[in-house]
Amino acid sequence: MGFKKCLLLCLRLDFDGWPNSPGMFTYSAPTSIEEVLDIVSEWGSRARILAGGQTLIPLIHNQRLSPEHLVDINGVRSLDFIDLQEDLSVGACCRQRDLEVFLRTRQQHALIAQALPLIADREIRSRGTVCGSLAAALPGAELPAVALTCNANLRIRSKRGAREISATSLYREDGTVALAPDEILTHVDFEDDDHSRTAIEELRYTQLSFPACGAAVLVDSQNGFCSSLRLTIFGQGIPAQRINEAESFVEGERPSTELVDELATRIRKEVRVDSVPGIPADYARHVAGSLGARAFKRAVAQREAVTAGAQ
Protein backbone atom coordinates (compact mmCIF):
# COMPACT_ATOMS: atom_id res chain seq x y z
CA MET A 1 0.00 0.00 0.00
CA GLY A 2 1.38 3.38 -0.95
CA PHE A 3 2.20 5.98 1.69
CA LYS A 4 -0.59 8.34 0.58
CA LYS A 5 -3.22 5.63 0.68
CA CYS A 6 -2.04 4.52 4.10
CA LEU A 7 -2.22 8.09 5.40
CA LEU A 8 -5.72 8.54 4.01
CA LEU A 9 -6.84 5.30 5.61
CA CYS A 10 -5.43 6.40 8.98
CA LEU A 11 -7.27 9.73 8.77
CA ARG A 12 -10.44 7.94 7.80
CA LEU A 13 -10.18 5.52 10.75
CA ASP A 14 -9.52 8.39 13.07
CA PHE A 15 -12.63 10.20 11.92
CA ASP A 16 -14.79 7.09 12.17
CA GLY A 17 -13.82 6.44 15.76
CA TRP A 18 -13.68 9.98 17.03
CA PRO A 19 -15.97 12.92 16.33
CA ASN A 20 -18.34 10.70 14.44
CA SER A 21 -19.95 9.43 17.63
CA PRO A 22 -19.40 10.45 21.22
CA GLY A 23 -19.99 6.91 22.54
CA MET A 24 -22.00 3.74 22.25
CA PHE A 25 -25.55 3.94 23.51
CA THR A 26 -29.12 3.34 22.53
CA TYR A 27 -31.55 6.22 22.33
CA SER A 28 -35.21 6.90 22.96
CA ALA A 29 -37.26 10.07 22.55
CA PRO A 30 -40.46 9.73 24.59
CA THR A 31 -43.17 12.37 24.33
CA SER A 32 -44.71 12.20 27.79
CA ILE A 33 -43.26 12.46 31.27
CA GLU A 34 -44.78 9.08 32.23
CA GLU A 35 -42.88 7.36 29.43
CA VAL A 36 -39.66 9.08 30.55
CA LEU A 37 -40.20 7.83 34.11
CA ASP A 38 -40.85 4.28 32.85
CA ILE A 39 -37.62 4.29 30.86
CA VAL A 40 -35.39 5.71 33.61
CA SER A 41 -36.94 3.33 36.12
CA GLU A 42 -36.17 0.39 33.82
CA TRP A 43 -32.59 1.41 32.98
CA GLY A 44 -31.64 2.99 36.33
CA SER A 45 -28.07 4.26 36.49
CA ARG A 46 -27.31 2.85 33.03
CA ALA A 47 -29.44 5.61 31.45
CA ARG A 48 -28.94 9.36 31.34
CA ILE A 49 -31.40 12.12 30.59
CA LEU A 50 -30.52 14.14 27.50
CA ALA A 51 -31.97 17.66 27.48
CA GLY A 52 -29.47 20.22 26.15
CA GLY A 53 -26.57 17.76 26.16
CA GLN A 54 -23.98 20.52 26.64
CA THR A 55 -22.64 18.84 29.77
CA LEU A 56 -23.55 15.25 28.97
CA ILE A 57 -22.14 14.88 25.44
CA PRO A 58 -18.62 16.17 26.35
CA LEU A 59 -18.59 13.83 29.38
CA ILE A 60 -19.47 10.87 27.15
CA HIS A 61 -16.96 12.02 24.55
CA ASN A 62 -14.22 12.15 27.21
CA GLN A 63 -15.29 8.72 28.45
CA ARG A 64 -15.95 10.10 31.90
CA LEU A 65 -19.49 8.74 31.51
CA SER A 66 -20.53 5.70 29.49
CA PRO A 67 -24.31 5.49 29.63
CA GLU A 68 -25.92 2.58 27.82
CA HIS A 69 -29.06 4.52 27.04
CA LEU A 70 -29.94 8.18 26.47
CA VAL A 71 -33.47 9.41 27.12
CA ASP A 72 -34.07 12.53 25.05
CA ILE A 73 -36.72 14.61 26.83
CA ASN A 74 -36.92 17.37 24.22
CA GLY A 75 -40.11 15.85 22.84
CA VAL A 76 -41.95 16.25 26.17
CA ARG A 77 -43.78 19.50 25.47
CA SER A 78 -45.07 19.88 29.03
CA LEU A 79 -41.48 20.38 30.27
CA ASP A 80 -40.73 23.33 28.00
CA PHE A 81 -42.03 26.39 29.81
CA ILE A 82 -41.17 29.59 31.67
CA ASP A 83 -43.85 30.77 34.05
CA LEU A 84 -43.41 34.08 35.84
CA GLN A 85 -46.02 35.07 38.38
CA GLU A 86 -44.19 36.36 41.41
CA ASP A 87 -42.15 33.20 41.60
CA LEU A 88 -40.33 32.08 38.51
CA SER A 89 -40.92 28.51 37.40
CA VAL A 90 -38.71 26.96 34.72
CA GLY A 91 -39.28 23.58 33.06
CA ALA A 92 -36.66 20.93 32.36
CA CYS A 93 -36.46 21.70 28.63
CA CYS A 94 -36.14 25.49 28.98
CA ARG A 95 -32.93 26.71 27.34
CA GLN A 96 -30.60 29.06 29.19
CA ARG A 97 -30.76 31.46 26.24
CA ASP A 98 -34.59 31.53 26.30
CA LEU A 99 -34.63 32.45 29.98
CA GLU A 100 -31.88 35.03 29.40
CA VAL A 101 -33.96 36.75 26.70
CA PHE A 102 -37.15 36.41 28.75
CA LEU A 103 -35.65 38.09 31.84
CA ARG A 104 -33.86 40.83 29.91
CA THR A 105 -36.89 43.10 29.79
CA ARG A 106 -38.21 42.29 33.25
CA GLN A 107 -37.24 43.80 36.58
CA GLN A 108 -37.61 40.65 38.68
CA HIS A 109 -35.12 37.88 39.42
CA ALA A 110 -32.10 40.08 38.83
CA LEU A 111 -29.56 37.54 40.09
CA ILE A 112 -30.62 34.93 37.52
CA ALA A 113 -30.64 37.61 34.81
CA GLN A 114 -27.09 38.61 35.77
CA ALA A 115 -25.82 35.04 35.98
CA LEU A 116 -27.17 33.65 32.69
CA PRO A 117 -24.97 35.70 30.31
CA LEU A 118 -21.90 34.53 32.27
CA ILE A 119 -22.55 30.89 31.39
CA ALA A 120 -20.12 29.56 28.76
CA ASP A 121 -20.95 31.28 25.45
CA ARG A 122 -23.84 32.06 23.14
CA GLU A 123 -23.78 28.69 21.33
CA ILE A 124 -23.78 26.65 24.54
CA ARG A 125 -26.64 28.69 26.01
CA SER A 126 -28.73 28.12 22.86
CA ARG A 127 -28.92 24.41 23.70
CA GLY A 128 -28.00 24.16 27.39
CA THR A 129 -30.95 23.96 29.77
CA VAL A 130 -31.39 25.62 33.15
CA CYS A 131 -32.45 22.38 34.85
CA GLY A 132 -29.68 20.40 33.15
CA SER A 133 -27.08 22.72 34.62
CA LEU A 134 -28.75 22.42 38.05
CA ALA A 135 -28.87 18.62 37.89
CA ALA A 136 -25.32 18.19 36.56
CA ALA A 137 -23.90 20.79 38.99
CA LEU A 138 -20.42 20.86 37.47
CA PRO A 139 -17.83 22.53 39.72
CA GLY A 140 -17.85 26.24 38.93
CA ALA A 141 -21.28 26.30 37.26
CA GLU A 142 -23.21 29.48 38.00
CA LEU A 143 -26.78 28.17 38.17
CA PRO A 144 -26.41 25.86 41.21
CA ALA A 145 -24.92 28.84 43.09
CA VAL A 146 -27.82 31.04 41.97
CA ALA A 147 -30.32 28.37 43.07
CA LEU A 148 -28.69 28.24 46.51
CA THR A 149 -28.72 32.03 46.83
CA CYS A 150 -32.34 32.37 45.68
CA ASN A 151 -33.60 29.50 47.88
CA ALA A 152 -34.83 27.69 44.79
CA ASN A 153 -37.14 24.69 45.12
CA LEU A 154 -36.61 21.76 42.83
CA ARG A 155 -39.45 19.49 41.72
CA ILE A 156 -38.31 15.95 41.21
CA ARG A 157 -40.28 13.02 39.86
CA SER A 158 -39.73 9.30 39.61
CA LYS A 159 -42.01 6.31 39.18
CA ARG A 160 -41.97 6.08 42.98
CA GLY A 161 -43.61 9.51 43.30
CA ALA A 162 -42.95 13.25 43.30
CA ARG A 163 -40.89 15.25 45.76
CA GLU A 164 -39.83 18.82 46.20
CA ILE A 165 -36.55 19.78 47.78
CA SER A 166 -34.67 22.99 48.38
CA ALA A 167 -31.40 23.69 46.61
CA THR A 168 -29.62 23.53 49.99
CA SER A 169 -30.76 19.89 50.37
CA LEU A 170 -30.05 18.99 46.74
CA TYR A 171 -26.39 19.97 46.86
CA ARG A 172 -24.47 17.93 49.40
CA GLU A 173 -21.40 19.25 51.19
CA ASP A 174 -19.04 17.23 49.01
CA GLY A 175 -20.47 18.76 45.83
CA THR A 176 -22.55 15.72 44.79
CA VAL A 177 -26.23 15.99 43.92
CA ALA A 178 -29.00 14.22 45.86
CA LEU A 179 -30.75 12.82 42.78
CA ALA A 180 -31.38 9.07 42.39
CA PRO A 181 -30.73 7.46 38.97
CA ASP A 182 -34.45 6.93 38.37
CA GLU A 183 -35.35 10.53 39.22
CA ILE A 184 -35.77 13.49 36.90
CA LEU A 185 -35.72 17.18 37.76
CA THR A 186 -38.95 18.33 36.07
CA HIS A 187 -38.83 21.99 37.03
CA VAL A 188 -37.35 24.55 39.35
CA ASP A 189 -39.09 27.36 41.22
CA PHE A 190 -37.17 30.51 42.12
CA GLU A 191 -38.99 32.46 44.79
CA ASP A 192 -39.67 36.15 44.19
CA ASP A 193 -36.57 38.13 45.10
CA ASP A 194 -38.77 41.09 46.01
CA HIS A 195 -36.42 43.55 44.30
CA SER A 196 -33.49 42.67 46.53
CA ARG A 197 -30.13 43.94 45.34
CA THR A 198 -27.98 41.28 43.82
CA ALA A 199 -24.52 40.83 42.37
CA ILE A 200 -22.39 38.04 41.01
CA GLU A 201 -18.60 38.18 40.72
CA GLU A 202 -16.27 35.69 39.10
CA LEU A 203 -12.59 35.04 38.50
CA ARG A 204 -11.80 33.09 35.34
CA TYR A 205 -8.41 32.08 34.03
CA THR A 206 -9.70 32.22 30.45
CA GLN A 207 -12.97 33.49 29.03
CA LEU A 208 -14.21 29.98 28.33
CA SER A 209 -13.10 28.13 31.44
CA PHE A 210 -15.36 27.59 34.40
CA PRO A 211 -14.70 30.25 37.03
CA ALA A 212 -11.88 29.37 39.40
CA CYS A 213 -13.99 31.11 42.00
CA GLY A 214 -17.22 33.06 42.12
CA ALA A 215 -19.61 34.70 44.58
CA ALA A 216 -23.34 35.34 44.30
CA VAL A 217 -25.00 37.77 46.68
CA LEU A 218 -28.54 38.84 47.48
CA VAL A 219 -28.94 41.67 50.00
CA ASP A 220 -31.93 43.35 51.64
CA SER A 221 -31.45 46.52 53.59
CA GLN A 222 -33.65 48.84 55.59
CA ASN A 223 -32.80 52.40 56.61
CA GLY A 224 -29.19 51.90 55.64
CA PHE A 225 -28.81 48.70 57.68
CA CYS A 226 -28.35 45.33 56.10
CA SER A 227 -31.42 43.31 57.10
CA SER A 228 -30.49 40.07 55.40
CA LEU A 229 -27.69 38.67 53.30
CA ARG A 230 -27.53 35.47 51.27
CA LEU A 231 -24.06 34.68 50.02
CA THR A 232 -22.94 31.69 47.96
CA ILE A 233 -19.37 30.87 47.03
CA PHE A 234 -18.63 28.50 44.15
CA GLY A 235 -15.77 27.59 41.86
CA GLN A 236 -13.81 24.82 40.22
CA GLY A 237 -12.47 23.58 43.55
CA ILE A 238 -15.30 24.95 45.67
CA PRO A 239 -18.58 23.01 45.89
CA ALA A 240 -21.34 25.67 45.69
CA GLN A 241 -22.09 26.58 49.30
CA ARG A 242 -23.86 29.20 51.38
CA ILE A 243 -21.60 30.97 53.87
CA ASN A 244 -24.05 30.97 56.77
CA GLU A 245 -21.96 32.42 59.59
CA ALA A 246 -20.69 35.29 57.47
CA GLU A 247 -24.28 35.95 56.38
CA SER A 248 -25.55 36.27 59.95
CA PHE A 249 -22.55 38.38 60.94
CA VAL A 250 -23.56 41.08 58.45
CA GLU A 251 -27.25 41.14 59.33
CA GLY A 252 -28.28 44.23 61.28
CA GLU A 253 -25.01 46.00 60.49
CA ARG A 254 -24.49 49.22 58.57
CA PRO A 255 -22.33 48.61 55.47
CA SER A 256 -18.89 50.18 55.85
CA THR A 257 -15.36 49.55 54.62
CA GLU A 258 -14.54 47.79 57.90
CA LEU A 259 -17.62 45.58 57.59
CA VAL A 260 -16.68 44.58 54.03
CA ASP A 261 -13.11 43.73 55.14
CA GLU A 262 -14.40 41.69 58.07
CA LEU A 263 -16.85 39.89 55.76
CA ALA A 264 -13.95 38.88 53.48
CA THR A 265 -11.99 37.53 56.47
CA ARG A 266 -14.98 35.54 57.71
CA ILE A 267 -15.66 34.06 54.27
CA ARG A 268 -12.02 32.93 54.03
CA LYS A 269 -12.35 31.20 57.41
CA GLU A 270 -15.66 29.51 56.70
CA VAL A 271 -15.48 28.40 53.05
CA ARG A 272 -14.80 24.72 52.34
CA VAL A 273 -12.28 24.40 49.54
CA ASP A 274 -10.82 21.41 47.69
CA SER A 275 -7.47 21.79 46.03
CA VAL A 276 -7.61 21.33 42.26
CA PRO A 277 -4.77 21.50 39.74
CA GLY A 278 -3.84 25.11 39.06
CA ILE A 279 -5.94 26.51 41.91
CA PRO A 280 -4.28 25.96 45.31
CA ALA A 281 -6.74 25.82 48.22
CA ASP A 282 -5.22 28.80 50.05
CA TYR A 283 -5.45 30.91 46.93
CA ALA A 284 -9.06 29.82 46.29
CA ARG A 285 -9.96 30.70 49.87
CA HIS A 286 -8.35 34.11 49.57
CA VAL A 287 -10.08 34.88 46.27
CA ALA A 288 -13.42 33.63 47.68
CA GLY A 289 -13.18 36.24 50.45
CA SER A 290 -12.30 39.02 48.04
CA LEU A 291 -15.02 38.16 45.52
CA GLY A 292 -17.67 37.69 48.23
CA ALA A 293 -16.81 41.09 49.72
CA ARG A 294 -16.73 42.72 46.28
CA ALA A 295 -20.11 41.27 45.33
CA PHE A 296 -21.59 42.44 48.66
CA LYS A 297 -20.16 45.93 48.16
CA ARG A 298 -21.53 46.12 44.63
CA ALA A 299 -25.00 44.91 45.67
CA VAL A 300 -25.17 47.37 48.57
CA ALA A 301 -24.04 50.24 46.35
CA GLN A 302 -26.93 49.45 43.99
CA ARG A 303 -29.36 49.67 46.86
CA GLU A 304 -28.14 53.13 47.78
CA ALA A 305 -28.20 54.32 44.20
CA VAL A 306 -31.80 53.14 43.74
CA THR A 307 -32.96 54.73 47.02
CA ALA A 308 -31.20 58.00 46.13
CA GLY A 309 -32.80 57.93 42.69
CA ALA A 310 -36.27 57.45 44.20
CA GLN A 311 -35.90 60.49 46.45
Binding site: F15, S21, T26, Y27, G53, I57, A120, D121, L208
Partner: protein, 151 residues
Protein backbone atom coordinates in the same frame (compact mmCIF):
# COMPACT_ATOMS: atom_id res chain seq x y z
CA UNK B 1 -26.11 -0.18 16.00
CA UNK B 2 -29.46 1.54 16.52
CA UNK B 3 -30.48 3.82 13.67
CA UNK B 4 -33.32 6.27 13.14
CA UNK B 5 -34.85 7.97 10.15
CA UNK B 6 -34.78 11.73 10.35
CA UNK B 7 -36.09 14.51 8.19
CA UNK B 8 -34.65 17.98 8.47
CA UNK B 9 -34.57 21.22 6.53
CA UNK B 10 -30.93 21.65 5.57
CA UNK B 11 -29.99 25.00 4.04
CA UNK B 12 -33.57 25.46 2.88
CA UNK B 13 -34.06 22.00 1.39
CA UNK B 14 -35.89 19.12 3.00
CA UNK B 15 -33.61 16.11 3.42
CA UNK B 16 -34.22 12.61 4.79
CA UNK B 17 -31.57 10.25 6.12
CA UNK B 18 -31.23 7.19 8.27
CA UNK B 19 -28.56 7.89 10.85
CA UNK B 20 -26.94 5.99 13.73
CA UNK B 21 -28.30 7.37 17.01
CA UNK B 22 -24.76 7.94 18.23
CA UNK B 23 -23.82 10.19 15.30
CA UNK B 24 -23.36 13.87 16.00
CA UNK B 25 -24.92 16.54 13.83
CA UNK B 26 -21.41 17.79 12.96
CA UNK B 27 -20.48 14.40 11.57
CA UNK B 28 -23.74 14.11 9.61
CA UNK B 29 -23.23 17.53 8.02
CA UNK B 30 -19.60 16.95 7.12
CA UNK B 31 -19.51 13.29 6.22
CA UNK B 32 -23.14 12.65 5.32
CA UNK B 33 -23.85 15.83 3.36
CA UNK B 34 -20.31 16.94 2.47
CA UNK B 35 -20.74 20.44 3.86
CA UNK B 36 -17.96 22.78 4.98
CA UNK B 37 -18.67 22.38 8.72
CA UNK B 38 -15.25 21.76 10.31
CA UNK B 39 -14.81 19.34 13.17
CA UNK B 40 -11.98 20.02 15.55
CA UNK B 41 -12.19 19.26 19.28
CA UNK B 42 -15.48 17.35 19.09
CA UNK B 43 -16.38 18.33 22.64
CA UNK B 44 -17.68 21.86 22.40
CA UNK B 45 -14.53 23.82 23.22
CA UNK B 46 -13.52 25.36 19.91
CA UNK B 47 -16.71 26.54 18.15
CA UNK B 48 -15.49 25.46 14.73
CA UNK B 49 -18.50 23.21 14.06
CA UNK B 50 -21.11 25.90 14.87
CA UNK B 51 -24.24 25.93 12.73
CA UNK B 52 -27.64 27.58 12.99
CA UNK B 53 -30.49 25.38 14.24
CA UNK B 54 -33.87 27.11 13.99
CA UNK B 55 -31.93 30.38 13.70
CA UNK B 56 -29.94 29.84 16.90
CA UNK B 57 -26.18 29.25 16.77
CA UNK B 58 -25.30 25.86 18.28
CA UNK B 59 -22.30 23.56 18.46
CA UNK B 60 -23.11 20.74 16.07
CA UNK B 61 -20.65 18.40 17.81
CA UNK B 62 -22.73 18.63 21.00
CA UNK B 63 -25.99 17.78 19.29
CA UNK B 64 -26.95 14.34 18.06
CA UNK B 65 -28.02 14.08 14.44
CA UNK B 66 -31.32 12.51 15.56
CA UNK B 67 -32.04 15.65 17.56
CA UNK B 68 -32.02 17.71 14.37
CA UNK B 69 -35.09 15.87 13.12
CA UNK B 70 -37.84 18.35 12.26
CA UNK B 71 -35.50 21.33 12.66
CA UNK B 72 -34.14 23.87 10.20
CA UNK B 73 -30.35 23.58 10.06
CA UNK B 74 -28.15 26.10 8.27
CA UNK B 75 -24.46 25.64 7.66
CA UNK B 76 -22.16 28.18 6.07
CA UNK B 77 -23.52 27.21 2.64
CA UNK B 78 -27.01 28.24 3.76
CA UNK B 79 -26.03 31.84 4.54
CA UNK B 80 -26.51 32.74 0.87
CA UNK B 81 -27.66 36.33 1.39
CA UNK B 82 -25.08 37.20 4.03
CA UNK B 83 -22.14 35.20 2.73
CA UNK B 84 -20.79 37.62 0.06
CA UNK B 85 -20.48 40.60 2.40
CA UNK B 86 -18.97 38.43 5.16
CA UNK B 87 -16.46 36.86 2.77
CA UNK B 88 -15.48 40.29 1.44
CA UNK B 89 -15.07 41.76 4.94
CA UNK B 90 -13.14 38.70 6.20
CA UNK B 91 -10.85 38.80 3.19
CA UNK B 92 -10.21 42.56 3.33
CA UNK B 93 -9.39 42.43 7.05
CA UNK B 94 -7.11 39.40 6.77
CA UNK B 95 -9.45 37.59 9.15
CA UNK B 96 -8.82 34.27 7.47
CA UNK B 97 -5.36 32.79 7.85
CA UNK B 98 -5.41 28.98 7.70
CA UNK B 99 -9.20 29.16 7.43
CA UNK B 100 -10.01 26.12 9.56
CA UNK B 101 -12.10 28.08 12.08
CA UNK B 102 -13.70 30.34 9.47
CA UNK B 103 -17.05 28.45 9.12
CA UNK B 104 -17.64 28.76 12.87
CA UNK B 105 -16.69 32.44 12.98
CA UNK B 106 -18.89 33.22 9.98
CA UNK B 107 -21.88 31.48 11.58
CA UNK B 108 -21.29 33.47 14.78
CA UNK B 109 -20.98 36.69 12.77
CA UNK B 110 -24.11 35.99 10.72
CA UNK B 111 -26.11 35.12 13.83
CA UNK B 112 -24.95 38.29 15.59
CA UNK B 113 -25.70 40.55 12.59
CA UNK B 114 -29.19 39.04 12.26
CA UNK B 115 -30.16 39.92 15.82
CA UNK B 116 -28.03 43.08 16.10
CA UNK B 117 -27.22 44.71 12.72
CA UNK B 118 -24.93 47.38 14.25
CA UNK B 119 -22.98 45.69 17.03
CA UNK B 120 -20.23 47.49 18.95
CA UNK B 121 -16.81 45.95 19.42
CA UNK B 122 -17.64 44.58 22.89
CA UNK B 123 -20.74 42.85 21.54
CA UNK B 124 -18.71 41.30 18.73
CA UNK B 125 -16.07 40.05 21.15
CA UNK B 126 -18.83 38.55 23.30
CA UNK B 127 -20.43 36.86 20.27
CA UNK B 128 -17.19 35.23 19.11
CA UNK B 129 -15.80 34.36 22.53
CA UNK B 130 -16.71 30.69 22.11
CA UNK B 131 -14.56 30.37 19.01
CA UNK B 132 -10.90 29.46 18.92
CA UNK B 133 -8.57 30.51 16.10
CA UNK B 134 -5.30 28.58 16.12
CA UNK B 135 -3.64 31.37 14.12
CA UNK B 136 -4.83 33.80 16.83
CA UNK B 137 -6.29 36.22 14.32
CA UNK B 138 -8.96 37.53 16.64
CA UNK B 139 -8.46 41.26 15.97
CA UNK B 140 -8.97 40.54 12.28
CA UNK B 141 -12.31 38.87 13.00
CA UNK B 142 -13.47 41.78 15.11
CA UNK B 143 -12.62 44.37 12.47
CA UNK B 144 -14.10 42.16 9.72
CA UNK B 145 -17.43 41.89 11.53
CA UNK B 146 -17.39 45.64 12.25
CA UNK B 147 -16.81 46.20 8.53
CA UNK B 148 -19.54 43.76 7.50
CA UNK B 149 -21.96 45.61 9.78
CA UNK B 150 -21.16 48.90 8.02
CA UNK B 151 -22.33 47.62 4.65
Amino acid sequence: MQTRSIELELNGKTCSRTVPVTQTLASLLREGFGLSTSISCGEGNCGTCSVLVDGQPVRSCLMLAVQASGRAVKSLEGLADQLPRLQKAFSENHAIQCGFCAPGFMIAAASLLCSNPKPCEAEIREAIKGHLCRCSGYSGFVSAILDAAQE
